[in-house]
Structure formats: C-alpha cells, structure tokens
C-alpha cells in the first residue's frame, strides 16, 4: 500500500484537475448569474461530502458506544476532522457567491445559520478530542457526535421546510438544473469524494501511528529501570 499511495495521489490530483476543467471551461454559462455561478461546482459538492463524513462519524460513534471498538473511535475522529475541512470550504465559498448574487455576504436565515452551528458543533468535537485528558474522552465525544448528527437533517431539509434566502435544492425539492450542469456537478462531487477518501485514509494511518507510538512509549516507561530508587 505504501507504494500505491503516490499513484493514488497522482490519480486523485489528475481527476480533480479534470473536474476543475469541466467546471471552469466545459459547463455552460448561466444566463442570469454569468460565470460566478460556477462556484456551485465547489460549494455544493463540499456540503454533500461534509454531510457524508458527518454521517460516517455518527455511525462510527454509535458503534463505539455499543462496542468500545478502538477502530470505530478512530473512524469517528477521522470523519469529523475531514468533514470539518469540507464544511469550512462550504462556509467560505457560500458568502463569496452570495456577495455578487444577493448583494450581501451573510444573512441569518435557517440554512446558513444551521450550517454554521453544524460546523461549530464538530469544531467543538475536535477541540474536545484534542484538549481533554480524561479517559472518558472518546465516550463524551461519541455522545456529542450523536447530537451533532441531529443538525445534519435540519441543515439539509431547512430549505424545504422554511422560507429562506438560500435557493431551492438543485436536485429534487422544486429546484431545477440544466442536465449539462448537473453532469459537471456530479463529476466534481465524485472528485471531491476521491479527495475525501484519500484524506481520510491518510488521517487514519496517522492516528494509527500516533496510538502505536503512545503504546510503545508506555511500554518503554514500564520497562525502564528505576535507577534513582
């Protein structure tokens, strides 16, 4: 797998390049918004990928609470961390798109506010994992992850339930999109999923290494002769 990693990185970077070419060159220009609408090809796939990763975090947290399986705990951590990265992209590209289209950077409507709350919940999850020294940290984090996951459907369905500044969903729910644009959107989502898979795999390996190091250090400390006593 060590040898395959650079090839995988190359393939993912090439696919991301192809997806960007599709988004910036091949996709037709929007008649109303002009070229600025092309932000959709990064904004929407980032949100979908973040939702998927938070879903993985939720399932892994439930599994951890039921079985105390260390692998499930690691998967939960990885899902949350990479999910926060994609959610950050979504929260940054949104206002950049909103400014030329709505005339404002931000508005406190349900979709935008619930997305910000979602990001803050998972950020607090990561801070809990990073700074808490309690032995119960994985359990507390898993419980927090379950509460965080409750916000995901609220974010997703908010534009169906409430009247918001945010437009209707591009797939289902009353929204519509040109099939050529939808094709490019799905290509970009697939490319983002490949990137997410690569990041998750790297982060998982890193966490595995960290735990291995901690175990070795603990073992060394136990075996060390107590010369001063």
């Amino acid at each position: 797998m060590k040898r395959a990693f650079p090839i995988l990185v190359f393939l993912v970077v090439a696919f991301l390049g192809y997806a960007m070419y599709q988004a910036l060159v091949v996709a037709p220009t929007d008649q109303l918004q002009g070229n600025v609408y092309r932000i959709i090809y990064y904004h929407v796939p980032s949100a979908w990928t973040a939702f998927l990763l938070f879903g993985i975090n939720f399932v892994a947290s439930v599994v951890y609470l039921m079985s105390r399986n260390a692998k499930a705990d690691t998967i939960a951590l990885v899902g949350a961390e990479v999910g926060v990265v994609f959610c950050t992209v979504n929260l940054v590209t949104g206002p950049i798109w909103a400014r030329p289209v709505w005339g404002i950077w931000w508005t406190w409507d349900v979709r935008l506010t619930s997305t910000l709350v979602l990001w803050l919940i998972y950020l607090s999850y990561l801070m809990l994992r990073r700074f808490s020294t309690s032995g119960q940290t994985p359990v507390l984090a898993a419980a927090l992850a379950i509460f965080g996951a409750l916000d995901v459907p609220l974010v997703y369905f908010s534009i169906w339930i409430f009247r918001t500044q945010h437009p209707q969903p591009v797939i289902g729910g009353g929204g519509s999109i040109d099939p050529r644009m939808l094709h490019v959107l799905l290509i970009n989502w697939l490319a983002f999923l490949c990137l997410a898979a690569l990041l998750c795999w790297s982060r998982y390996r890193l966490e595995y290494m960290r735990r291995e190091l901690e175990e070795t250090q603990a073992l060394e400390a136990l075996l060390e002769p107590r010369g001063s006593l």
């Binding site: 960007m20 910036l24 070229n35 600025v36 092309r38 932000i39 990064y42 904004h43 980032s46 990479v82 990265v85 950050t88 992209v89 940054v92 590209t93 950049i96 798109w97 400014r99 030329p100 990137l195 990041l199 790297s202 982060r203 890193l206 290494m209 960290r210 190091l213 070795t216 250090q217 060394e220």
Partner: protein
C-alpha cells in the same frame, strides 16, 4: 470573475493547509519514532 477565482483559490488554500497539517504531524511522529529507537 474575481469572486469565482476567490472561491476556487480559497477552496484550495483550505485543502492544502489541511494537507500541510497532516504532513507536519507525520514528520513529527516519524521523528518521535526514530528518537524512541535510539
């Protein structure tokens, strides 16, 4: 166009910053492993 470029550039800045963070963590862990072996 400047908003479009700003969105794309900020996306890659965020992703590359995260990749950089992972690389730094990897280098530090590898160094700690080597220290432990000595």
């Amino acid at each position: 166009m400047k908003f479009l470029y700003a969105a794309y550039i900020s996306t890659w800045v965020i992703h590359l910053s995260y990749v950089g963070m992972l690389l730094r963590r990897y280098v530090r862990l590898k160094h700690e492993f080597e220290e432990l072996k000595k």
